[in-house]
């Protein structure tokens, strides 16, 4: 079996070794599978392992590479996908008991794209039930149980891509695929010391993915570096006529983040977090200093987000779209089979939101889009702490533990803005702290450029947790 030193390598490094045949895709797959079998259950990281499929794909990759048919940087690289992406022949349970035995006849578009790139699917990552669409108060809101944070197993990874973060964070796969409607890639990446990219809305097809919010769901990578996010997004992006939210190919296809030709204008947000925990503030301020001293960045220190009812509007849109997506589950009463006390009743309340309020939220959304367009004339990217706190306790009541407003999360998701979270240090109890960059729609390359430049000067992304 391969050593931890290998299993924690970035995709960028692993692919070099796979291509030069220093590492066998089969051995790499077997090693990740063994580690996943040993550590996965302790972290509640997986919904399902797919060892037969993984070994078949790995053997095929090995044979092709040996024959000189190299498909690209993901060829022979093992990954896991959030359990809301359909994979033919395996259950796709959406993290929820009522769907535990659900099967689909076709793979999700993202799974097909990764297969075409030669990537190896190790398994389906655990997740918060229905991606949190009916609401949740506890980390245990998952058919797989609460996902434990590899940095401190008394704590949570955050949701809803909770298993995806546990898998990448614990070195159980080279990368994972997560999804975000509001915070579900950025928060798990922040809490778990990972590099996670939320792409521009419409860049990655949701065909074959569970729908929670038709106008806000996004799919993106959770990895060990910004460079890895870049590699994965290049593969999974692109137009798909099966997804009505999919952008035209010329916009949807991500060609990668080129090297910077001039400094990036970084707007440091002054009004994102009303309060920030001291053990988070210290590493975030140190990260700010790194940006300030780097000639690749021009730091604009006093940028403010517009004020308005953005979070309420975003919440209404998610709630109404979610109530429609899960109408049958709500009206049949099978929401009572969900784990979380809030999940059991959330759908009933979402149904009471009026059509008038929903349309109002959509009108406010367009005003906000225009306002943000103006803000992005001043800056290339916005930057702030990913979260004002470190990971919560595994059994915490999230209504009490996460009581802060999150305007940039609401704005970023309602406007479909790309964002990336990268690790920037540690707080108390050895828990990671994250820094996030946000850009205007289709400027995914800029958030990657900013994060990559930051990671060239720091080594937080190369740290790894000590797991028994």
């Amino acid at each position: 079996m391969l050593s931890e030193d290998i299993l924690f390598l970035s995709v960028t490094e692993l692919s070099k070794r796979v291509r030069s045949r220093q590492i066998s895709p089969v051995e790499l797959t077997e090693s990740y599978l063994e580690r996943s079998r040993n550590l996965g259950p302790k972290l509640n990281a997986y919904a399902t392992l797919t060892p037969d499929l993984a070994l078949k794909q790995a053997r095929a990759a090995e044979k092709e590479i040996a024959a000189g048919k190299y498909r690209g940087p993901l060829h022979g690289i093992p990954y896991a996908a959030k359990d809301l992406l359909a994979v033919k022949g395996y259950p796709t349970g959406w993290g929820a008991k009522p769907y535990a035995d659900q099967h689909f006849d076709d793979d999700a578009t993202v799974i097909k794209k990764l297969e075409a790139a030669g990537a190896v699917l190790l398994g389906k990552a655990a997740m918060i039930e229905l991606a949190g669409g009916m609401g949740y108060r506890y980390a245990s809101a998952s058919a797989s149980g609460p996902a434990h944070n590899p940095w401190n197993t008394d704590c949570w990874t955050c949701g809803s891509s909770s298993g995806s973060a546990a898998i990448t964070g614990a070195g159980l796969a080279a990368f994972t695929i997560g999804t975000e409607t509001w915070g579900s890639i950025i928060c798990p990446s922040g809490f778990s010391g990972l590099s996670g990219l939320r792409p521009t809305y419409g860049r990655v097809s949701r065909n074959g993915a569970m729908a929670l919010s038709y106008t806000m769901d996004k799919i993106g990578p959770i990895t060990r570096s910004a460079e890895d996010c870049d590699l994965v997004l290049k593969v999974i992006s692109g137009h798909d006529p099966e997804d009505m939210g999919s952008l035209p190919e010329a916009s949807a296809k991500y060609s990668g983040a080129p090297e910077l030709k001039g400094p990036l204008r970084v707007g440091w947000l002054m009004n994102q977090w009303k309060e920030i925990a001291p053990d988070v503030n210290q590493p975030v301020m140190a990260a700010r200093e790194v940006l300030q001293k780097n000639p690749g960045f021009t730091l604009l220190p006093n940028i403010k987000l517009p004020e308005g009812p953005w979070e309420t509007a975003a919440g209404i849109i998610i709630s109404v779209e979610g109530a429609t997506a899960f109408r049958q589950l709500i009206q049949s009463g099978r929401v009572s089979e969900l784990n979380d006390p809030l999940g059991k009743i959330g759908g009933y309340m979402s149904e009471e939101i009026s059509a008038s309020d929903f349309i109002l939220a959509q009108r406010i959304r367009l005003v906000l889009q225009k306002t943000m367009e103006d803000l992005f004339k001043q800056v290339d990217v916005l930057a702030t702490a990913t979260l004002p706190v470190t990971a919560t306790q595994i059994d915490a009541n999230l209504d009490q533990a996460l009581t802060f407003a999150d305007p940039v999360g609401g704005i970023g998701n309602i406007c479909g803005l790309p964002a990336i979270s990268v690790p920037c240090g540690f707080g108390q109890r050895g828990l990671p702290v994250g820094l996030q960059f946000i850009a205007k729609p289709l400027d995914d390359a800029k958030v990657v450029q900013a994060a990559r430049l930051y990671q060239r000067q720091t080594d937080w992304h190369q740290k790894r947790p000590k797991l028994a």
Binding site: T181, S246, L342, S350, Q362
Partner: protein
């Protein structure tokens, strides 16, 4: 993590107001209950309701009544109390959103497009299946 309803965080921030019973009529929303959990939730409901206008309170009561009429037989006393609290606490955010100034011509972000092909310019023409008449 996706937010529930209006914003879970706003709920939490909004729940700290002092408790009052002045604006809640007996027999309306708050049934007398024995459990301390329900009582605690009801106190929070009263606090949130006290901060609302009379029309906003009526709206909360109407929505709660609608939920209970449709689904009440499935819900425990504690779940009912939780629903009353959340609906009351989320109303403030809703009122703030409704106060946001918009002009008549401010369109919604999910505008309808009459031509699907214009919305999806990359879509290739559908190939007729065998036996299907070409148009």
């Amino acid at each position: 993590m996706p937010k529930f309803l209006l914003s879970r965080r706003q709920f939490a921030l909004g729940a700290a107001a002092a408790a009052t019973t002045a604006l809640v009529r007996p027999g309306d929303l708050l049934a007398q209950t024995a459990t301390s959990t329900v009582q605690s939730l009801d106190e929070k409901t009263r606090a949130a309701m006290a901060k609302l206008t009379a029309s906003a309170q009526s709206e909360v009561e109407m929505k709660v009544a609608s939920i209970f009429r449709k689904y009440g037989d499935r819900l425990s006393d504690e779940q009912k109390a939780d629903i009353r609290r959340i609906m009351a606490e989320s109303q403030k955010g809703l009122e703030e959103m409704r106060a946001f100034k918009l002009d008549n011509g401010d369109q919604p972000a999910d505008a309808f497009r009459a031509a699907l092909t214009a919305a999806r310019p990359e879509e290739k023409p559908r190939t007729p299946k065998s036996g299907e008449e070409k148009k």
